[in-house]
Symmetry: C2
């Protein structure tokens, strides 16, 4: 089985990846890192799959609000539920992160972990992106899949470290990214152990346990992985502290920032968008030695589905 | 490299292990489990190393109270610190889990994660067990090391799931048990990301984040591993719910309970001891299909140091 970066165009970004992997894998290099310490962390939304017009888990939340609204007639006249039901993006945006969290709590709790997994699997199998009409799991980036494979072929352990829900991502991470559930780190709600009619269950409560974003990412990495990654991949200021943490170790510390600048094949956004702001990360990248990936210039192909179609 | 269970005497316990591993590894068996799902979880205190006269991390706490008491003159006359300073076991026991937690918070917080790791490493290198005078990392069980190796040789991923501190155990788990930090699950205190003089750090606060015991174990397993283990090893009622959770899956679900019944080579305790109570687990083991390991009858050797001495 050969590993390649075929969907990457030759250029500074691809070369930086090859150089870094050579540097840490070569036993005679001063930057050599033993395999057990080769930990790479990947943000998910906007780094491994798209996040426009809204985080895909956010679209799941809106669909769940619709699915559950018969049981909650008050939602039709209560915010932020009313805006969610009406897909009133402007009003929704006005409620910010707090509003989104309220919707998440109302739709992600009140069931067991097994029930939640079934709901997510069902949604992933049937829901379609509002613009591309593709299943969401076909809007993952082919070049990033190749990068995951390439790192693993060089004895890296690849982790997802996402602001998204840990149990949401785990439903598809192994199948789609080759990242097993135990290597997914994310935001979570509180669960509670209960034996119901003799059957042990984990009940999901409508209470936030941990928000894995910004300053939360180094905290979650330490809690979950217990050692400092040597490589990090992200696309927004939500990844800033994760990059800073990866850079703060004694070794190499390789960081790459994905810049969404391809309106034709994907989306072009940044400063002007609520999702994926990266003002600070992009501004400080040169001084901090972070490599910027331009989707427009560095990627030959964008979505995995494109490859699948071309290969078929 | 050959893997063996040489320190296990032939008998029901050893046979149960061999049968289980054959059953889940044999592709033609109805109980076959794909390698990625072969997750085994191990309690630490009293399962991988001894826990008498007190949890070893508890002895670390008492040493830390002594080391820090000059900075806290009030401890000499304040409980539970006074009892800790005086090694007054009876009074300490009276404060129960709440008292122990108070001591943990006072001694485990107020420093960075790197500083804490250094303190633990120093303690492990110099401290000796009050009765055996051995370093604590020589009071790990040789038969359990062989079991860990044997499972890994059969494509199991081995995790520690302990009521002890996650960062405490991680300082020695890879070196001593071959379990990397990312496969250690335990109790934790809250950490906070801070950039100090340009250096990113994680500050340990004196606040409990999660207590990984009893009902907490299935919760932490789900949070950290994200799938149900197929094998669990423990020694007390603190492992009861973990066993129940492992048994509640669709597959095999193999559980073993270590019984400390060897006063001569290790310790004999159970119902009468504060550490490692196992009244309920032991009583229900036969009905639930849990295999009981008798240290006295099933183990040819106990501590790893014994083997090392014999081999040298």
């Amino acid at each position: 089985m050969s590993y390649h970066l075929n969907s990457w165009r030759d250029g500074a970004a691809k070369q930086a990846i090859l150089d870094f992997v050579n540097r840490v894998s070569d036993k005679s290099s001063p930057d050599f890192v033993p395999p057990s310490e080769r930990i790479a962390v990947f943000d998910n939304d906007g780094t491994l799959w798209s996040e426009q017009p809204f985080y895909f888990q956010g679209l799941f939340v809106l669909d769940r609000v619709r699915a559950l609204c018969d049981k909650h007639p008050e939602w039709k006249t209560t915010q932020p539920f009313q805006a969610a039901l009406e897909r009133d993006w402007k009003t929704l945006a006005g409620f910010g992160e707090k509003g989104l969290l309220e919707l998440v709590m109302a739709t992600h709790g009140g069931m067991t972990t097994d029930e939640f997994t079934a709901v997510v699997n069902d949604w992933l199998a049937t829901a379609r992106h509002p613009q591309t009409r593709k299943p969401f799991t076909e809007m993952i980036y082919q070049p990033m899949l190749e990068l995951l494979d390439y790192l693993r072929a060089n004895d890296f352990k690849t982790f997802i470290v996402s602001g998204g829900g840990i149990e949401f991502i785990r439903t598809f991470s192994e199948r789609v990214y080759g990242v097993p559930p135990e290597q997914v780190v994310g935001s979570s709600i509180i669960t509670q152990y209960e034996v119901r009619d003799g059957k042990p269950t984990l009940a999901r409560l409508s209470q936030l346990n941990f928000l894995d974003d910004r300053e939360g990412k180094p905290v979650a990495i330490n809690q979950h992985i217990g050692r400092r990654p040597i490589a990090a991949f992200g696309n927004s200021d939500g990844d800033f502290q994760m990059f800073e943490w990866v850079n703060g170790g004694s070794g190499a510390g390789f960081c790459m920032l994905l810049h969404h600048d391809d309106a034709e094949r994907e989306f072009a956004y940044g400063k002007e968008s609520a999702a994926g702001r990266l003002d600070r990360a992009l501004a400080e990248a040169p001084d901090r030695g972070w490599t910027v990936i331009s989707i427009k210039n560095d990627w030959r192909r964008v979505y995995v589905a494109d490859t699948m179609q071309k290969n078929s």
